[in-house]
Amino acid sequence: MVLRVFDPTHEMKMAGTQPAPRLSTLRGKTVGFISNGKEGTKRYFTELERILRDDIGVADVVWRTKSNYSAPADAHIVDEARQWHAAVTGVGD
């Protein structure tokens, strides 16, 4: 007996989001860190900043911390990020 059953998911994905063009180099660029404020981010970002500055030669590293670790970045951080060449953000504790 054939059953006709329906899709429980969103079939249409959101349009309009494309990855930013990839940088050919990080040398001389400004990189922003968007931290969720958790304890584990400090050592990680400290070491990452050292690598970026000493080994790769970025122009600047900007640290910003979200006001709520489980909500998207605050609007002012998103606005500021437009001035960066690259951003590091993600999930972690």
């Binding site: 007996m1 059953l3 006709r4 059953v5 329906f6 429980p8 959101m14 709520n68 489980s70 909500a71």
Partner: protein, 357 residues
């Protein structure tokens, strides 16, 4: 379906050979919680929509962070999969409306490593209509209605918000409430006001409250008839949560079954009295963290007092559970006050605002 609600379903459909084939099809697509599902046929889905008087494309709400629209049709498909009958669907839809309120922080609570589930508490006449059992096994498999309603919540999260383990859902541990976490309040056997009324819904209306919740922590105190001593045990469990898990204040729920409830009620205590007592007693000194291996984060504020509740209003007191046993339950929040419990009337708009965004 009458003319006012007649509409064809808009979702993509698939033809599968039989019930068993439907299982493998849905499992292989990642559309289940690991348990068998009820195949969502058009007849079953349309029956839910007809019962709720909703056209398929009715917008239940928009999840604010990802701007994800949730339609009645998609919610009904997931509700059918969970095993919901049409009479269960209005509760599922209302729970989702409440979950999409900005203060609930739906994206945050469902993606977090903290691993909470959505606790759903049902009040009002609808409990009796659907056969929800607020007594034995209130926090377990008490009845068909609460089991499938809770499950529908989770399936819709999986399928409509991609809340899958390792995907959007970064939960480290989680708890069994992520299968289903729904109970009804035992309004017929209490002197108190229903939870929904305490939270602003006019008495007599059916309502649902949603809370981002950790697993229940069972307490026991059957050796006293003093309400303060009984409630001190609840408060002690809340203090333990503050020490062992999160010190920050938020919505806590406490479930008081009949044996303890009768003692507290006989002494004339109202839910407000309970909340005020718990608010005073459920608090810890930050320095206590050092006793449980967390000395590193006490820092220079060992004497700072942290309350489990920012105010007595943040305690959800729920009358439920079987008739015997000096047990109770404390249900902690996901994480402090970053999320707030939301209560919504079913089938009535008590405080309507246009959808945001």
């Amino acid at each position: 379906m009458d003319a006012a609600t007649r509409s064809t379903l808009n979702s993509k459909f698939y033809d599968v050979d039989d019930f068993a084939a439907a299982q493998e099809f849905y499992h292989s697509n990642g559309w289940t919680d690991g348990l068998p599902i009820v195949p969502p046929t058009d007849k079953a889905v349309e029956a839910c929509l007809e019962w709720a008087l909703m056209p398929p494309d009715q917008l239940i709400g928009i999840e604010p962070v990802r701007a994800q629209p949730i339609t009645a049709e998609k919610l009904a498909i997931n509700a059918v999969m969970a095993g919901c009958l049409p009479m269960h669907f209005p509760i599922v839809a209302t729970a989702w409306q409440a979950m999409m309120r900005e203060e609930f922080l739906l994206h945050g609570v469902t993606s977090s490593t903290g691993g909470c589930a959505v606790l759903v508490i049902i009040n009002g006449p609808i409990r009796l209509e659907i056969g929800a059992n607020a007594t034995f096994n209130a926090l377990g498999n008490s009845d068909r209605a609460t089991s499938v309603i809770g499950r529908a919540i989770r399936l819709a999260l999986i399928n409509l918000m991609d809340v899958r383990p390792g995907g959007i859902d970064r939960t480290t541990l989680g708890h069994p409430g992520k299968f289903s976490y729904c109970l009804a309040e035992d309004e017929e056997d209490m002197d108190w006001q229903p939870l929904s009324t305490m939270r602003g819904i006019p008495e007599g209306l059916s309502a649902v409250t949603v809370m981002a919740a950790l697993a229940p922590r069972q307490i026991m105190n059957e050796w006293t008839r003093d309400p303060k001593e009984i409630l001190e045990t609840f408060a002690a469990e809340m203090r333990a949560n503050q020490r062992h898990y999160s010190i920050y204040g938020g919505n806590y729920a406490i479930v008081i079954p009949k044996q303890l409830r009768d003692i507290i009620q006989a002494a004339g205590w109202t839910k407000r009295d309970i909340a005020e007592f718990i608010h005073e007693r459920a608090r810890v000194r930050r320095g206590e963290w050092a006793d449980v291996g967390k000395g590193a984060i006490v820092r220079d504020r060992p004497d700072k007092i942290h309350t489990a509740l920012d105010s007595p209003d943040h305690l959800l007191v729920i009358a439920a559970g079987g008739p015997a046993g000096g047990f109770g339950a404390v249900i902690p929040p996901w994480m402090g006050s970053k999320t707030k419990a939301v209560t919504a009337a079913i089938g009535a708009c008590v405080d309507c605002e246009p959808p945001k965004g």
